[in-house]
Symmetry: C2
């Protein structure tokens, strides 16, 4: 079981894998126009069901023509199940056999999500790939709670499958199980038996750290059928991505490029640089010399520093674009290295360079 | 003296006039990349000397390669003199024969601008057209204060001219005089005698209202030499623009398209619409049916409303782009109508439609 390349076909086009999927939480990749996503090489985007169900609501999105129309994006879209947000953002959560009731993080109104309502909402949104509602335990977490999360995740996966009604959307299952090997195995076995067209590894990147993440991936990825795409949710840190690609993970989504971009943190192959730093005040070099993104082609580090210091929108805009391009180039290099049979050497060199300053 | 078309040549290209110049206060037209400015038809941009002198400072801008490099804009640029900002934003102003001392609006530090320092800063920035430091009286204003403002504006214009050292930059004079006909005449006569390559009409759009603005334009424009460009500073309200073009004004700058865009107000030929309005919640029409801007080509009013409601950057970005395109189309129509000898009819129809709801 090693790294692999592939091509994920969807009704809105294909995606070369391993692929990075930028996050468009509220139906927009923050600060980046869809034309620009295409320009930097993005092939697929993600939107968050939880956020969209709250605002503007699934019915409004349907009346506006569905998620592709709302995002102005005619390529593949994936929506998550809302499980992660319910377990990280919402308050006063009550998980029952039926689903999860909580107060939302915006106005505190009570909401209930069940496997069936989550599928129904995603059917209205119309993404190409939709996810089953899962229970995402925190880290650390008492074993009995992880056991219960896995039990519900399995049951809800079956109910999601039964509720799914659109043949043009692929419903994928999510493997939970925290850092418990046998629970990951149980969850994977049960979901694989349900024959989903794709599988996500969820409940990671919640504080367990790189080594435990790697361990979880090492247990879980080999349990997933080789002919189905594997998706690691919420992971974007380069060392984590590389560890996952190494065991055959195909898809990744993460807010890092855009969130860091808004905070003046630039991804480069020499590591992260903080553009608010005084050191860049009169630096006429682009963020990264060999980068072909619209920010690097036209603006210097010193200009970006000025834009952030002056509180100008163009700073976050340009740096989000650059960081997305960085991820596209990073994934492009991995794909090429896999095809040429030199993945290990390529990523070792890449990580050594990226983390050389710690 | 009527409406006219023309072509303003600069070292960075030509501008078809009458032209609208978007404002890039701190060396960026807020939220809009330079490629997009070109795409919607912008030919020239403005930056504010006062703001740039404060942050990041003229020396830093020079080290970053000058204003064209910093803005990522290879077309014509105009910088203002800072006079307007000193008289509207700064505190504890003291105007002397020499210049103006004040506390800036950011950190309250004391600064002095003189005609010579303002020219020196603009020489460092490197815009194609630069402006002489003027004294911009408020409205209303006691006549003796307007007299003093005109006296200093004339003296400072002469000193600016003497201080200007770059042959590749055109230094223009600014006519002040408030709403006093004889003072406008005196200022115009003195500045025209100095033979500037272009003239601005300043000190308007400071609260005097449309009728007085029109009156001031009617007195002032005919006093300016027909072979020199005429620039009305800070004016963008369509009825004001039309009144100025009607008496032969060639250039306009204004923050309205971008400021209103950030506030969810969309310019259309049917008047302004406020996209936060609940009425647009499920409106699948573009902002304006026949608009060819990137926002109208790809997004609906309902989507824009969602973006603003959700506090997403893409709302201000898209609407700033649309509003700039509106101004480009508005000016394009005026130029075409002038060329075809039907300016009066065209703008009457245009204004009737634009202001039909008041």
């Amino acid at each position: 079981m090693g790294p692999r390349t592939g091509r994920l076909a969807t009704p809105h086009g294909a995606v070369e894998t391993p692929a990075f999927i930028p996050v468009g939480t509220k139906a927009t990749v923050k600060g980046v126009r869809p034309e620009t996503l295409r320009e930097v090489g993005v092939e697929m985007v993600l939107a968050n069901t939880y956020h969209l169900a709250l605002r503007p609501g699934a019915e409004t999105l349907r009346q506006l023509g569905g998620l592709h129309a709302v995002m102005g994006w005619d390529g593949p879209i994936l929506t998550d199940s809302g499980g992660f947000q319910v377990f990280s953002l919402a308050r006063l959560r009550q998980v029952t056999q039926d689903g999860v009731t909580f107060r939302n993080h915006i106005d505190g109104a009570e909401m209930t999500l069940t496997p069936e309502t989550v599928v129904a909402v995603q059917n209205e949104l119309g993404a190409d790939i939709i996810m089953a509602l899962d229970v995402c335990p925190p880290y650390p977490c008492p074993r009995p709670d992880v056991e219960e999360a896995v039990r519900l995740t399995i049951e809800w996966a079956a109910r999601s499958r039964a509720a799914h009604g659109r043949a043009d959307q692929a419903l994928w299952g999510i493997i939970q199980g925290g850092v418990e090997k046998d629970l990951r195995e149980r969850c994977a076995a049960e979901l694989v038996a349900m024959d989903f067209p794709g599988y996500a590894i969820g409940g990671v990147s919640v504080g367990e750290g790189h080594d435990r993440l790697r361990e979880v991936l090492g247990w879980t990825a080999p349990l997933l059928p080789a002919d189905r795409p594997r998706y690691l949710m919420g992971v974007g840190e380069p060392r984590d991505v590389v560890a996952a690609v190494a065991v055959g993970v195909d898809l990744f989504d993460c807010v890092l490029p855009t969130r860091n971009g808004r905070n003046a943190c630039a991804f480069t192959f020499e590591g992260m640089i903080r553009l608010r730093n005084e050191a860049f005040k009169t630096d006429r070099r682009p963020i990264e010399e060999d980068c072909d993104c619209p920010a690097c082609r036209r603006f210097s580090r010193g200009v970006l520093r000025h834009l952030f210091a002056a509180g100008e929108m163009l700073g976050p805009i340009l740096l989000s674009i650059h960081n997305l391009r960085f991820f596209m180039r990073f994934f492009g290099r991995m794909r090429q290295a896999i095809r040429e049979g030199r993945f290990d050497a390529e990523v070792q060199a890449l990580l050594d360079r990226y983390y050389k300053n710690g």
